[in-house]
């Protein structure tokens, strides 16, 4: 695949070839969790372990945000007593974790994905439905190649 040295180089010299969508895994209920299986379109682009690590870390972050434990109960009771007005002034735990996730994705993009011609979009921008991964082709080398994928759709 094309070699890009950083995110900026990716932006300047690449064109969008295809997008892959990692779907949600609902086997454990409505908690936010994504499938960790590497889709076939990315087989040639990134190592399976790296990809799985990224998705598993994201899943862990979401699990942390949605954890129902002692701290959450305390927050909930406190919020109830103040007629939930506290939500207007305080940043919720979920929002804090989302910021961490955002930074993590940015970091992963810079270090791992952009050099391989890939870009991860934060799931929050897709309604927490999918992890969208954009696949780029180097403009100078690929010529007129468009969508390279004719194999099965992204892993479920």
């Amino acid at each position: 695949g094309p070699e890009f040295h950083n995110l900026q180089e990716l932006r300047q010299s690449a064109s969008l070839a295809n997008k892959v969508f990692i779907q949600r895994d609902y086997s454990e209920g409505t908690v936010c969790k994504f499938h960790t299986k590497l889709p076939s379109e990315l087989d040639s682009r990134i190592e399976k372990t790296l990809f799985e690590d990224t998705v598993k870390t994201l899943n862990n972050y979401y699990a942390e945000a949605e954890k129902i434990g002692g701290h959450a109960y305390l927050e909930g009771c406190l919020a109830c007593i103040t007629a939930y007005l506290i939500f207007l002034c305080m940043e919720t735990r979920y929002e804090k974790v989302l910021k961490k996730i955002s930074r993590y994705i940015q970091e992963q993009n810079e270090k791992i994905y952009a050099p391989r011609g890939l870009l991860i979009t934060d799931p929050i921008e897709r309604g927490m439905r999918v992890i969208e991964i954009s696949i780029y082709e180097d403009r100078s080398s690929s010529g007129s190649s468009t969508s390279s994928s004719t194999t099965s759709s992204s892993g479920r």
Binding site: R11, F21, G29, T30, I68, A79, A83, Y84
Partner: protein, 442 residues
């Protein structure tokens, strides 16, 4: 790398692919003010305070609800409290005051909070969902099957495909035909509150109805005490009523509301304890004929745990990002979504979005309101009457013109395959469809 091939890609803009602007549109798009996403929101909602406040398009009877609460409470404070303070204790107006504040604050929060609306799928996602590969390896684009089965905690759950939002609905999500949105953990659309009740505002709603029950009972009790005390001695009850006519008003209002508020609170307490939504309870999603406890895969199998999960769980963020800015290169199109729908699209399916005439909806809303106020029956009945009339209305065939601007990413739907039954699609060749999708994806 030649300069003429140089193309800047802004990762932020990648989220919403730019629609190819025609020259006429470029000329029209003269506004330089960056637009916020709420301005192009496709659902039937209204926004105030530059997107901070969201309400359903039809505010239902929210003014009535608010009015009744405020008027009754104000009358109570003015006419009953002085007497009760002198004869009993000052705690009475204090308690009433706290309850009143609770009720009003939680009511407004229920009405103005995003219930958990799911943003609609972008074209690339839609293409991805539609793409199906044959055994021979050829690619076709068809609307996906209507349901998809998955297993959640050992139970088989069917996910339905939403034809409006163009995605498979996550579990417990339902499409509200009034607001034209898919809402997560959809409970019901409450006309009293003028909004859907879903994942994000369920705890506000629950606190509202519980504190309203307390307030109603409290005022009722205090008014009766007031009248009783006043009629002691040689005065008689009727004279007491004449001396304090406001109390009669409060008495009437509270007496009629107490049944529904107490009933509703009890019903929702049951729902919270078993981690069910009104939607699931009415449809009987998890009840088994053998009378087993429940096949509910979301329940934590413990009343306390369920209550904590539902009421004290984490507060998820709003997914629609209404105050976010649109990327500058996107030009929203004012396509009247109704006129693009193929006439055969409307099905007898409550989950399909069809546009029903506004007047009919309003008359139905009024009639269901009459149902729910007149009946002192269980809240279940009341809720059924407020939900099902809308469902039957939504299956009406005539799509009406809406003025809603679709999401910028939702491009000109004329090019894509209309969501019709296969029999109707004869005029569209497979090659034509493939070309349409290549155009969208590239």
């Amino acid at each position: 790398m030649k300069n003429c091939e140089y193309q800047q890609i802004d990762p932020l803009a990648l989220g919403t692919p730019a629609s190819t602007p025609t020259s006429t549109q470029c000329a029209k798009n003269k506004s330089h003010r960056p637009r916020r996403k709420w301005e192009v929101f496709p659902g039937r909602n209204r926004f105030y305070c530059d997107g901070r406040i969201i309400v359903a398009r039809q505010c239902g009877v929210l003014p009535l609800t608010l009015g009744l609460i405020v008027v009754t409470s104000v009358l109570f404070f003015i006419f009953d409290c002085p007497f009760l303070v002198t004869h009993l204790t000052i705690c009475i107006p204090v308690v009433a005051g706290v309850l009143f504040l609770f009720v009003v604050i939680t009511l407004l929060q229920t009405s103005f909070t995003d219930p958990g609306i799911l943003p609609r799928a972008l074209p690339e996602e839609v293409t991805n969902t539609e793409r199906q590969i044959d055994n021979s390896g050829s690619v076709t684009y068809r609307p996906p099957p209507r349901t998809k089965e998955i297993i959640i905690n050992g139970e088989v759950v069917k996910l339905k495909y939403c034809f409006t939002c163009k995605m498979f609905r996550p579990p417990r999500t339902s499409h509200c035909s009034l607001c034209d949105n898919c809402v997560e953990r959809f409970d019901h659309h409450c006309p009293w509150v003028g909004n859907c009740v879903g994942k994000r505002n369920y705890r506000f709603f629950y606190t509202f109805i519980v504190s309203l029950s307390f307030l109603t009972s409290f005022i009722l009790g205090c008014v009766i005490t007031h009248l009783t005390l006043r009629s002691q001695g040689d005065k008689g009850f009727l004279q007491a009523l004449q001396e304090s006519p406001a109390s009669v008003v409060e008495l009437v209002v509270c007496f009629f509301s107490i049944w529904s508020t107490l009933g509703l609170s009890g019903f929702h307490t049951y729902l919270v304890a078993s981690n069910l939504t009104t939607n699931e309870d009415i449809k009987g999603s998890w009840s088994t004929k053998r009378g087993e406890e429940s096949g509910n895969p979301y329940s934590y199998n413990g009343i306390f745990r369920n209550c904590c999960a539902v009421l004290c769980g984490p507060m998820p963020p709003s997914l629609i990002d209404r105050r976010g800015f649109l990327p500058p290169d996107v030009i929203p199109r004012t396509v009247a979504s109704g006129s693009e729908l193929h006439p055969f699209m409307a099905k007898n399916d409550t989950n399909m979005c069809t546009q029903a005439p506004k007047k009919l909806l309003e008359t139905v809303a009024h009639s269901s309101l009459v149902h729910s106020t007149c009946t002192s029956a269980t809240p279940k009945t009341a809720l059924v009457t407020q939900e099902f009339p809308f469902n039957s209305v939504s299956s009406m065939l005539s799509p009406s013109n809406t003025t809603q601007v679709p999401l910028p990413a939702a491009r000109d739907n004329r090019r894509s395959t209309p969501w019709t039954r296969p029999a109707v699609r004869e005029g569209i060749t497979q090659k034509g469809m493939l070309d349409a999708y290549k155009y969208q994806v590239s």
